[in-house]
Amino acid sequence: MRLITHNMLSCNIKGVANGFPLLIEAGKVIEKEVDFNPDFLRHMFAKIEWKALVEGARSMGYAELPEDSPDATVLDSDESFLKKLHHALLELHLEEGALVCPETGRKFPVNKGIPNMLLHEDEV
């Protein structure tokens, strides 16, 4: 699971009001290099919930992102920022661990890079 996906995932248990973002329990993290695509990153920047990305990256061992969401102008002027964004969003993979609902504490397991977000009967 990459952080780009994590930035979209939310706990959908019945009655949960604040299921996003999921906290990350990182067991095994791997890095896989991916081609740098600045246009894509610029497109993604508007979608991203910045705090969730920073927190998620930190949980996965990457603390290089600025704490606060930078101004959008940095997307055109600062390539080193784009590279950090690229690395955090696309190159870090949670292979083993769990995603935890911030409201209920329910853990969604991540095995072999695949999150299992299926709910039990009583959670639906």
């Binding site: 995932l9 990350i24 791997i30 890095e31 081609d35 695509n37 977000m117 009583d122």
Partner: protein, 393 residues
């Protein structure tokens, strides 16, 4: 035609010649050691939960038995074989995906073996499916996937630029669930985003296929749906074909409702078919070669027109079925049967095939989206929805 609309929308984007594996190249990989988090996330106290008042209020998100047995378990059991037959890309789906702007995030809900994930190399695909074995196949190909339920997507809203649902909704056994799945697709895309949905049609181009399908009466399907139904008693659940054999044969009737007798379904009612290759072609959306339509008698035609609930067989060759595991337990529980003549374990998949206009009617009930294209192609009904755009100055 929608493709012209999409092309004109793309004027602000330029098609770049991006590497074909732009998001998925893995020239370098290393493991990162991460300290385990010291925060306590676990809330050990169980919240008290009241029992549901009655089964009639059971959530639309709760999976009905017929889907657990005749969709989920079947796909889990047949996943690798199923995946090996799913390689031809349907041109209409490919065209839709290729028309989307570069860098789009495309959500595939019910992605199966991931056939369409990554089809447009300039876009980023996130797939989900309820079948873990199928998702594992996607993951092994380097795709970004997760296990999730299309009726209740674990996604926050408006993240996707587009979404697709290819041959998925026909596996949902109630209208409410099918509608909910459409609502979910619309929810997770951005305002102005497009959604492509395809489903199997009642109106099959190859009408001889219907001879291989077992019709189910809607009343019968209803009995499988509720948790309080007699069909969920342990005796029946452990042997799904037990009750079926005790159900009297139906009278052949052209009336749509009020069928007094429930069709007896079981593999015995499926006529012996010809070569297995022909049946494999029947399973896929795209016939591997052109087949001529075999004419069907008038009465049978009328009957089939009103029939929308079916079991469609899947023949899993013995050499493909696990010696121990899914097929062994499926056979033991009666979920599947052996066909020695064909050398295959035969599973049944539940389908609600859609009649003309039905998909549109369902989609038009979704408030903040409108239908921008509709077509019939290769025995499938298809629509493209566009989510309402935000009002802009």
């Amino acid at each position: 035609m929608i493709l012209d609309v999409l092309r004109s929308i793309r004027t602000c984007y330029r098609r770049r010649n991006l590497p074909s594996c732009g998001f998925y190249s893995t020239s370098k990989m290393r493991e990162v050691k991460v300290k385990a988090s010291s925060r306590e996330f676990i809330n050990e106290e169980e919240e008290e939960e009241e029992n549901e008042i009655s089964s009639s209020l059971s959530s639309v998100k709760s999976t009905p038995e017929i889907e657990k047995k005749y969709v989920h378990r079947v796909y889990d059991a047949i996943a690798p074989h199923f995946s090996s037959t799913r390689f031809a890309k349907w041109p209409k789906v490919a065209a839709f995906l290729e028309s989307l702007p570069c860098g789009s995030v495309i959500l595939d809900a019910g992605c199966g073996n991931g056939k369409y994930l990554g089809l447009n190399p300039s876009c980023f695909f996130i797939g989900c499916d309820i079948s873990h074995p199928l998702i594992k196949i996607c993951s092994d190909k380097g795709q970004e996937v997760l296990v999730a339920d299309a009726v209740n997507l674990p996604y926050r809203e408006e993240f996707g630029d587009a979404a697709i649902s290819i041959a998925v909704l026909h596996h949902l056994s109630t209208e409410n669930r099918r509608k909910k799945a459409i609502e979910e697709l619309v929810r997770v895309v951005k305002p102005g985003g497009f959604v492509l949905i395809t489903v199997w049609a009642v109106e099959q181009e190859d009408t001889s296929l219907l001879n291989k399908w077992t019709p189910l009466s809607p009343k019968y399907v209803e009995e499988w749906v509720g948790p309080g139904s007699p069909m969920n008693s342990p005796r029946v659940r452990n042997n799904p074909f037990f009750s079926l054999e005790s159900i009297p044969e139906t009278e052949v009737s052209t009336k749509e409702h009020k069928v007094e007798n429930i069709p007896c379904f079981g593999l015995e009612s499926i006529p012996e078919s010809e070569e297995s290759t022909r049946e494999q072609k029947a399973e896929s959306i795209i016939p591997e070669s052109k087949e001529s339509t075999i004419p069907v008698e008038g009465t049978l035609e009328t009957l089939k027109k009103n029939q929308q609930e079916y079991f469609v067989p899947w023949h899993l060759p013995y050499h493909r079925a696990e010696v121990s595991g899914a097929s062994a337990s499926a056979l033991a529980s009666g979920l599947a049967k052996k066909d020695d003549r064909k050398g295959a374990v035969v599973y049944n998949r539940y389908y609600h095939v859609f009649s003309e206009g039905e998909l549109e009617r369902l989609a038009s009930g979704v408030g903040n989206a409108m239908i921008v294209d509709r077509f019939y192609d290769k025995s499938n009904w298809c629509i493209v929805l566009q989510k309402a755009a935000l009002n802009q100055d």
